[in-house]
């Protein structure tokens, strides 16, 4: 354990913030989805870092389950995006206001 855990945690915080900015400022639904993946990866990095810092394999087991759930989430999310785009081509997140009251 030569590189301190704090450096990894700072990097993960930076990655999470970049993903959050992207999610908030981009309008393309697919790119927003990629930003969610960035944030998930930042959290995975945090889990692995804590698994090393606290010497606990449980953190790595959690990352394993996060990976599986992320895969399922991407499959369903992209299915929804395909369904939306079939109805209205070239839609951005701003165009999806059908549910607006």
């Amino acid at each position: 354990m030569t590189v301190s855990g704090g450096a990894y945690l700072a990097l993960a915080a930076l990655l999470f913030s970049i993903g959050a900015v992207g999610l908030l400022i981009r309008r393309n639904v697919l790119v927003m989805f990629m930003c969610v993946e960035l944030m998930l990866n930042a959290v995975n990095l945090t889990f692995v870092t804590f698994a090393r810092m606290l010497d606990d394999i449980g953190g790595q087991a959690v990352v394993f389950f996060v990976l599986v759930v992320a895969a399922a989430e991407v499959v369903v999310g992209l299915g929804i995006i395909v369904a939306i785009f079939r109805r209205r081509a070239g839609a951005t997140a701003d165009d999806l206001h059908i549910l607006k009251g």
């Binding site: 606290l54 394993f64 369903v76 785009f85």
Partner: protein, 185 residues
């Protein structure tokens, strides 16, 4: 002497991987073309995989490359090509005035808070480690992870298989053309 040398190598690997991760992340949010965003995402995922190897999470590094960089990004690219949205968009046009400064300010506040937490956190939430077992010690990383997943977390592991089946069925149902739309067109 040897200890000092490995120390420098570890720091060098960390810095290079960090630069790769951050470059890829900025590429994702600043590319005008979604295909370039997806390729930058691959870069970030590889960087994170390197950091996993650095922290001796060898199995997760392999899964990261196979599942994320292999399957998920290819799925993204499939959908981009299928929908034909691989054209440039003007990302500097601001649809909602004042939204971007607020978004960047909020994310900056989150970042500062997280960094302060990293710097000044005094104690862990409970201070008690889980009963999953130690990450270091005898045996390989794969053995330790496998033994904990197939004993302690066996139920969660089985539930994720159900989740994956549900996701596959859901994706097929969502992506199928509705019957009414076919007859209308």
């Amino acid at each position: 002497m040897i200890l000092a040398a490995t120390h420098y190598v570890d720091w060098a690997v960390f810095m290079i991987a960090a630069v790769i991760v951050l470059t890829g992340a900025f590429g994702v949010i600043l590319s005008e073309n979604p295909v370039h965003s997806a390729l930058s995402l691959v870069m970030t995922l590889f960087g994170v995989a390197v950091l996993f190897v650095e922290q001796e999470a060898h199995f997760l590094a392999a899964v990261q490359v196979i599942v994320y960089a292999g399957a998920i990004v290819v799925l993204f690219l499939f959908v981009i090509m299928l929908l034909g949205v691989d054209k440039h968009e003007n990302i500097w046009a601001e649809p909602l005035r004042g939204q971007r400064p607020v978004a960047i300010g909020l994310a900056g506040m989150t970042l500062v808070e997280l960094l302060l937490l990293v710097r000044f956190q005094g104690s862990w939430a409970t201070g008690v480690s889980s009963d999953a077992g130690p990450a270091s010690g005898a045996g390989t990383n794969v053995e330790k992870l496998a033994s904990v997943i197939f004993t302690r977390y066996l139920l969660a592991f089985e539930v994720t298989s159900v989740l994956l089946v549900i996701a596959v069925v859901g994706a097929v149902v969502l992506a199928r053309k509705p019957k009414q739309a076919e007859t209308e067109s």
